[in-house]
């Protein structure tokens, strides 16, 4: 699987964890960070399922969720 085909995850950080400061820890576990959402305390990144499993075990992480797709809701 090439890097571009890796699944994308939304990493929601635990309460009080500052997003920018958490990036290096997430990267050290293999996450390829795409976006840092400071106001929301979330980081968007790519990685294997094994990376996601590792991140779920971190104290600084509240949840790791596979990215979903949405659409405009006109008829």
């Amino acid at each position: 699987m090439s890097d571009s085909e890796l699944p994308v995850y939304v990493i929601t950080l635990a309460e009080g964890i500052e997003a920018t400061g958490a990036v290096s820890e997430l990267e050290s576990h293999g996450l390829q960070v795409k976006r840092v959402l400071a106001a929301l305390g979330q980081v968007i990144g790519q990685g294997s399922e094994q990376v996601a499993t590792q991140l779920r075990g971190l104290d600084s992480v509240q949840s790791v969720d596979a990215q979903r797709t949405y659409r405009a809701l006109d008829e």
């Binding site: 929601t12 106001a39 929301l40 949405y70 405009a72 809701l73 006109d74 008829e75």
Partner: protein, 392 residues
């Protein structure tokens, strides 16, 4: 619905007609005995020359025709018999306008049916000073109806600029923030003087990912948008945790997110559907759609029994006329997508008129909604309403 003596109901006093209440105004004092109500009171009324045809002994209340000075004399006579009597003018009550509110609307040359149904056509509030973000397919910032408006655009979609090659985003921005008095056609925008923040989170194909949408919410919060409108969704029943956090943090930062409940119903075929993500986040307001007769739209999703799966409120969402990109300029389309920007615009008007933000703004929107004779699972608190001048 009745009311008395308020500026909105205008109850009026009837000349020379009074209501006499044979009771103490002090709730700690026992009421008068049944024997007194049945014998002593009618006797005193008759002695005073009052008719007892409108005396109600079980209530201890009489309605009489009298001059005011004659009543003073009667009150003193009652006091001499240790009989408490309070006198108030008789009032004529009228049905309040809410109780006879229209339940069918149509587009006119002046306003769309949606603006009329939510009362935006009569509101003096315009959303001035309020930052309203619409996260959608982008915006045609060159649309002539938006010339001179305060517009900020941003694309969160990789490889696409902020322009709207789809149309949905320009339509939603038109409903939430468009003009009430355009050069041609009916007024179609609720918050016609709000500051527009057009965040492109859905691509030209009308779809987008969590990455784009969450980045759009983050951008709107960085820009201190008090209202964020999201006419998008996915047909999944489970709550997606990132939007629980996003909705809660938005409220903490003074922003209210409203989102389309979903179009997955087909009520005419017996399928009521369900509120999808992200509207099913407990901290995001879920918006249903009604038609111009204030019936729930066939496609509008119903509440489900998970926390956040409620429908919170409804807006006009069938055959909605609004702006469209390019030379077409206007289009009429349907969806909970179209109901959502109505509610977002109304939130901006209420934010302007009351100064309320976040959860308090949510509560006010729900409180002020027009009750509909429909299940709350379909329309929540009812049809969102604009503040009038008197409600500031």
């Amino acid at each position: 619905m009745f009311s008395k003596n308020s500026p909105r109901s205008a109850a009026t006093e009837v000349p020379d007609r009074f209501v006499i209440i044979f009771d103490s105004a002090d709730p700690a004092t026992p009421g008068i005995a049944a024997e007194a109500r049945e014998q002593q009171v009618p006797q005193l009324l008759t002695e005073q020359g009052y008719s007892i045809s409108e005396y109600f002994p079980m209530l201890g209340i009489a309605v009489v025709t009298s001059k005011a000075d004659q009543l003073d004399d009667f009150r003193q006579r009652c006091a001499g018999h240790q009989l408490p009597a309070e006198v108030v003018p008789e009032l004529i009550y009228r049905i309040l306008p809410d109780a006879v509110a229209k339940d069918s609307f149509s587009d006119t040359g002046q306003f769309t049916w949606g603006l009329q149904a939510v009362g935006a056509d009569l509101s003096s509030y315009t959303g001035k000073g309020i930052n309203l973000a619409v996260l959608d397919t982008g915006f045609d910032a060159n649309h002539p109806d938006f010339a001179g408006r305060n517009v900020t655009t941003k694309s969160l979609v990789d490889g696409e600029d902020a322009a709207d090659s789809h149309g949905h985003g320009t339509h939603c921005i038109g409903t939430s923030c468009g003009p009430r008095t355009p050069e041609q056609g009916p007024g179609y925008g609720v918050a016609s003087e709000a500051n527009i923040f057009a965040g492109k989170v859905l691509g030209a194909d009308g779809s987008g990912s969590d990455s784009n949408i969450l980045a759009g919410i983050n951008w709107a919060l960085e820009n201190k948008c008090q209202v964020i409108s999201m006419s998008l969704g996915a047909d999944v029943k489970t709550v997606h945790p990132p939007y629980v956090t996003a909705g809660r943090r938005a409220l903490e930062l003074g922003s209210l997110i409203v989102a389309a409940a979903g179009n997955n119903a087909q009520r005419s075929a017996g399928n009521p559907g369900f509120v999808g993500a992200p509207a099913n986040s407990p901290y995001i307001m879920a918006v249903a759609a009604v038609d111009s007769k204030l019936a729930v739209a066939d496609f509008s999703a119903q509440a489900i029994s998970t926390e956040g799966g409620e429908v919170d409120i409804a807006g006009p969402g069938v055959d909605v006329y609004s702006s469209w990109p390019g030379s077409q300029r206007y289009n009429t389309i349907s969806g909970t997508s179209m109901a959502t920007p109505h509610v977002a615009g109304l939130a901006a008007l209420l934010a302007e008129s009351t100064g309320l933000r976040a959860q308090e703004l949510w509560d006010k929107l729900v409180q002020e909604a027009r009750s509909l004779s429909l299940p709350t699972t379909d329309v929540g608190a009812g049809l969102a309403q604009a503040p009038t001048s008197a409600e500031s």
